[in-house]
Subunit: 414 residues, 2 copies
Amino acid sequence: MKNVKSAECIMCKTQIKASPNITVCPECGGILEIVYDYEWIGKNTSIEKIKKDPDRSMWRYREFLPVEETSAVSGLRAGGTPLYSAGRLGNLLGYSRLFIKDDGLNPTGSLKDRPSALAVVKAAEAGISSIACSSTGNAASSLAGSAAAAGLSSYIFVPKRAPAAKVAQLLIFGAHVISVQGSYEDAFRLSSEAISRWGWYNRNAAINPYLSEGKKTVSFEIAEQLGFSAPDFVAASVGDGCTIAGIWKGFKDLFAAGFINKLPRLISVQASGCRPINRAFEAGNEILEPADENTIADSIAVGIPRNFHKAVRALRESNGITANVSDEDMLHAMALAGKTTGVFGEPAGMASIAGLMKLAGKGIIPKDSLIVSVVTGNGLKDIKSASKAVREPIKCNPDMESLLAAFEADEGMR
Amino acid sequence: MKNVKSAECIMCKTQIKASPNITVCPECGGILEIVYDYEWIGKNTSIEKIKKDPDRSMWRYREFLPVEETSAVSGLRAGGTPLYSAGRLGNLLGYSRLFIKDDGLNPTGSLKDRPSALAVVKAAEAGISSIACSSTGNAASSLAGSAAAAGLSSYIFVPKRAPAAKVAQLLIFGAHVISVQGSYEDAFRLSSEAISRWGWYNRNAAINPYLSEGKKTVSFEIAEQLGFSAPDFVAASVGDGCTIAGIWKGFKDLFAAGFINKLPRLISVQASGCRPINRAFEAGNEILEPADENTIADSIAVGIPRNFHKAVRALRESNGITANVSDEDMLHAMALAGKTTGVFGEPAGMASIAGLMKLAGKGIIPKDSLIVSVVTGNGLKDIKSASKAVREPIKCNPDMESLLAAFEADEGMR
């Protein structure tokens, strides 16, 4: 890879060769990060070149991605999701320039399709035909879908609580699904053991440093959709910590290459019932205290976030802000954003909006800031929660009298 | 509209002015069709111009669409869905050049987002702020989403059997939802009465001739994605008849404007338990006999197709082919396509693949034909059916011994 210099441990700074199947730092067990040659990148791509690229997927930013020049990258079209101006929602919340990045429109319905697309390429580079992960759901279905498209086998370890919709989706993709009768942590641990035992490619996001490199492409798109400039704030929900770290890496890469001239501040939104990253950052001690996983937002219910350090560092470096939201806040955000923008996000996906609601009017975010809220997953993935967020439809018999009576009885209908 | 000449009745050929809220022919009640000035279109757009357009939505084909030059078309990003080469699936079915157009990746998860995007613009042109339809689901959620994004009210009449996932989605979009305790036909009739009574904008696809003009954009994209050429065959599932008529109109428009040099043959796939269009075409009498609605594929369970004549005409004009598939065929297609392509379609969405399976090896479709299968809706919309198409995940306790035992007991897992 001509664009990549090395993989560097974020803890002890040890540098190792960026081979396809590296995991953690061989010296201290810390999380690795891919280090680029921005000079090479600057010589081999440009804003003008990217603008002209007919490829609508995340691979339009290939020079910024850690794959061999010769690797094939076909498969599902990850990326290319819309950035919507959300004027009416912004007005309700008290922000004049609010945008929603709807990453639920990725091929399998979540932002995780980006890292999975990358993982499948790295597995092929490593010469491995089976790929595995543990996941609360979105990483799993994205991996299963990407693997199916690429002709690889997938082994997926899901915790007991994973919603049926997400499990059905990955079974459709032909994945070997193991429902671990325990927590996310249990599923993660068992998947790690199985991966070592059978030599599968490891798609666990925190352990595999290439995954956040896939996630960072959401920031590339946001910047491009804003005319190659950074927003003032980017709000995202946070579970394992990998997504917010990836978002930050994306903006840092563009900044380092001179494609944008400032960096955004990050807003980390966690569930009140599971906020180990926000708690540590708020306390200023950056110490991970395992948390319970009390939230309906299964995608961010991670009591022991594997990418804790990268996430906390991203918040520190970006002068970040935290917001902690209840399940009710998320359900309220789903309904409010749905009816004012036409975007349907899952609870974790809409947590970013809930966080912005919570921060509104507190003097922390100037009203006229350019804010992007990243909706990380499609609402169709968790219909049970959606149903909790809304009323029932009215029922009537198929005649006008029944309809008039139903309208009469229900003032919300006129 | 400089690009539109008139609206013409497909039955009696009466021509009327194409005003925003026309419905059926004032003379005979037949379905209207929008007639274009292809000379104007040829002067105002070109293949080169379209290729360079950074707009990734269906509005990149604006010169082919029946909206005023001054109308705003922001809102959800309808269109811009991927066309995947489905080599492994094609090989299994016996076709060497099979492609899948995954229209389930539209904003609310179905092809119907295209006509809904158009309907919202026409409602605004008509000066109407409430818009209504009856639907088995996808038209409803797409209308609700598009209306929410555009700031309009929506009134949706759904039949009793509409899946909960689809109803939850449109409630999230803030629609006024009326669950009509009866069939699709009952819901359609009641919606028509209510629309007349309250003067809402009518988004019922067959009655409103602009809707198939939105649907045709899927063909524009297919042609563009194939380098501005037409495939040999296009397979799509058929319910109301509007989608296949729209697909045909798209190719005819491109052909008339000289953007492609041949037309594809259409493959109309219906459920064996509800196939009034295929039956009439196969019988050669083109007479509509109402059918029962016996299929899990709710999106195409239409016993009295409102766009019968346009659909049958499309089949006739294109030298079309029919295929009738059982629920089992569709479920099988969902699982087979899922694991070989990574595309997750709802049963009606995958009916097109099931139809191609059924036609394979019969000498009707040459093996090396370029075939596009249009997947019209996202599988996440009907998880209940997806679950029927696949096995259960294996369950194990969070330790290696349990995992080994589970693998041992289940040969499908290794």
